[in-house]
């Protein structure tokens, strides 16, 4: 006979049956029955956060690092609305999270009851799907569906809104967790169209100036191996989007670096001059394409994506392929093998060598070479800090970031050789993401080195989580690239608004970050020069601090800008490469 459980117990039991390790949450009236159910069990560990937004970023960070869905529990009303930013962040970057929100009891819905908000309505534009539990008996099935939807096809956030009466501890139901789920109106594509795959291979082989351009879809779709194989067979240049870093080894000679607004000169030049672009799990975001009308004028576009709506949305694809990156790339590799076996000279090696020569020239003309600019006692540069972190962690850390200049420096200067190591809010650009995301990663991998490269502005958006870090003893390493400014805003104002720094600085109103860390029981360090930086780095990443959260307040040159930078309204080859000296 099936077990009899209350709605609240069924909810937590269903999470157990889904294999959920952690539940990132914050309690309130509407979720109290659920909290009581949590209290009575040990399998799902609840992590008490300090703000619901942070809970969603933790779940998101956990999901990005592990590939498994992150789970959040918030109460109704303000708990639910606080979660929205994190849900939207996960939605833009297609990460699988399940957010359970308390709701006022069914009979009170629509009456403007205390802490009532229409969560399904308010989250609708930023979820993959959502459920309102009308009856407690639906709970097991709804949970099953929610996890299925969140993790399949193009992943994304799913909300389950749970009215309090459906978690009533006094009303029991037969509990049975569905083994399978079928949604007659939801059937994500599991393999690519073989005709299209053959056409794609032909386009790859016919190219003289090819570029492979890959995004978050390769990372999320676990297609790194297949992609590596493809590049090995072809020896074609490859670039990654901000979301795609780590999808291909950052230290590989065929890697051109990141492309786009702050991408490398060589990546953007190669894109612009390519005659064939193979886009995999990338969506031609405006931060990549610059003006779509001027985008890669001579290129045939082969576009592989699991989401058909991403194909030909911004840039029309000549060869569209819908399907999961791993399965399709596997088939591409097979077809390619057969083609090359039949015709070993199918790749025009001469043209390819000439193409690589051009790329090498671009690489020499402008590399990420700030080191030369740095002399003796000039101020500490953010790039140096990122490079020091890279060295100190042997390039093998999980690195989360926030939004701003520091994020771009981290993306440019930390070389990610493995997927799921670089974790940042690319699509929504959510300041405040970095620290909680790092916490989610650290929960998933307690022994891993987890670094959060942040800016003081972003850090202050969720720094209350230092308290959560204290509670759960999370040994995260926070590198605060402190330029005492909303640096990216300031950079735009420097470049486009005649240096009028409208509300982008606050030098005299910043906390002492070293003391701040100390007040939460952590250890703070300060570095204001290269010499100090080296000392601090060797200490922070030494075994002595392996179990401690360390915050490094790196006081960097506030005048540093991120380059290259795309020129607005231009093509991909329109870039500013260095600071323009003020005109007389």
């Amino acid at each position: 006979m099936a077990e009899m459980l209350s709605g609240a117990d069924m909810l937590i039991r269903a999470l157990q049956d889904e294999g959920v390790e952690y539940l990132f949450g914050y309690p309130g009236g509407a979720s109290l029955h659920i909290y009581d159910a949590i209290f009575k069990q040990q399998k799902v560990e609840h992590i008490l956060v300090r703000h619901e937004q942070a809970a969603t970023h933790m779940a998101d960070g956990y999901a990005r690092a592990t590939g498994r869905p992150g789970v959040v529990l918030v109460t109704s009303g303000p708990g639910a609305t606080n979660a929205i930013t994190g849900i939207a962040t996960a939605h833009m970057d297609s990460t699988p999270i399940v957010v359970i929100s308390g709701q006022v009891p069914n009979p009170q819905i629509g009456t403007d009851a205390f802490q009532e908000t229409d969560m399904v309505g308010i989250s609708r534009p930023v979820v993959k799907h959502s459920f309102l539990v009308r009856e407690a008996s639906q709970i097991p099935e709804v949970v099953k569906k929610a996890f299925y939807i969140a993790t399949t096809g193009r992943p994304g956030p799913v909300v389950i809104d749970v009215p309090k009466d459906s978690t009533d501890p006094g009303v029991m139901f037969e509990y049975r967790y569905p083994r399978e789920v079928s949604l007659r109106s939801y059937n994500p594509t599991v393999r690519g169209h073989s005709g299209q795959i053959r056409r794609a291979v032909k386009a790859l082989l016919d190219a003289e100036r090819p570029v492979i351009y890959t995004g978050g879809g390769v990372v999320q779709g676990n297609a790194t191996e297949e992609l590596g194989e493809l590049v090995d067979k072809l020896d074609y240049p490859i670039t990654n989007t901000l979301m795609g870093l780590g999808g291909f080894p950052g230290t590989d000679r065929r890697f051109l670096g990141m492309l786009g607004m702050h991408g490398t000169f060589e990546a953007n030049m190669a894109m612009h001059h390519a005659d064939m672009i193979f886009a995999v799990g990338a969506r031609f975001d405006d931060r990549v394409t610059n003006d779509p009308a001027k985008f890669c004028p001579n290129a045939r576009i082969v576009h592989l994506d699991v989401d058909p709506a991403s194909i030909s949305k911004i840039i029309r694809a000549d060869v569209p392929i819908v399907g999961p990156a791993d399965a399709v790339l596997r088939e591409v590799n097979e077809v390619l093998d057969r083609s090359l076996a039949r015709k070993p000279d199918a790749i025009d090696r001469e043209a390819l060598a000439a193409w690589w020569n051009r790329i090498r020239q671009w690489r020499c003309k402008h590399g990420l070479d700030h080191d030369q600019r740095h002399r003796g006692d000039s101020p500490l540069l953010p790039q140096q800090v990122v490079q020091a972190v890279y060295r100190a962690t042997s390039g093998d850390a999980y690195v989360t970031s926030d939004v701003g200049q520091h994020q771009m420096f981290a993306a440019q200067y930390y070389k990610f050789d493995r997927p799921r190591r670089w974790i940042n809010s690319g699509g929504l650009g959510t300041m405040g993401f970095g620290l909680p995301a790092a916490m989610g990663v650290q929960f998933a991998f307690p022994d891993a080195t987890v670094v959060c490269i942040t800016g003081e502005g972003s850090f202050m958006m969720n720094m209350q989580e230092l308290s959560t870090c204290m509670q759960y003893a999370l040994p995260i390493k926070i590198i605060n690239l402190n330029n005492a400014a909303l640096g990216m805003v300031k950079q735009w104002q420097d470049m486009q608004y005649g240096g009028r720094l409208s509300h982008s600085t606050y030098r005299d109103a910043l906390p002492d970050f070293v003391d701040l860390a100390g007040s939460f029981g952590h250890t703070g360090f300060r570095a204001g020069s290269v010499k100090e930086l080296d000392e601090v780095m060797s200490e922070v990443f030494s075994p002595e601090y392996a179990d401690k959260l360390c915050l490094v307040d790196a006081c960097i040159d506030p005048e540093e800008h991120v380059y290259p930078m795309a020129i607005k309204g231009g093509a991909m080859n329109d870039m500013v490469l260095e600071r323009q000296t003020a005109s007389p």
């Binding site: 399904v120 309505g121 609708r124 534009p125 993959k128 799907h129 959502s130 309102l132 009308r134 939807i149 949604l183 007659r184 109106s185 939801y186 989401d307 058909p308 709506a309 030909s312 949305k313 029309r316």
Partner: protein
Amino acid sequence: MSERRIIAVLLENEAGALSRIVGLFAQRNYNIETLTVAPTEDDTLSRLTLTTIGDEDTIEQITKQLNKLIEVFKVVDLTEGDHLEREIMMVKVRAEGLQRAEVKRTADIFRGHIIDVTDNAYTVQLTGPSDKLDGFLRAVGETTVLEAVRSGVSGIGRGDKILSL
């Protein structure tokens, strides 16, 4: 080039499904001219017809984005093939003195039915493609029309092809 399109959508007959469709149009700045929705012969399903105006790329995105909604089964752009469209309209028109005969005649020409009568007005019911209803309104003249209510377009493909699960 922008064109009027009739899009048929088969979706789960569930609370909230319609708001996802309407929300999608608002969120992505697609235009909706008319929209009708009702359960089908299978009452677990709803059938929705909407008319919109957009260029080729926009219509492609609209159908793809609609298809992406979890509760949507099928999306068909009826205007891509032979199809039938009907709209129903009830219109209250001024009908006094000599006008009464004139309105009656116009209603007959458009195969309308007078379904309610007062001393001063007729209520006419008309069915047909949207442009026929537009035609009637023009024929009786703006000043004569007191009130008009239209159902929005319903559409179905011609021939043996059917839109079902």
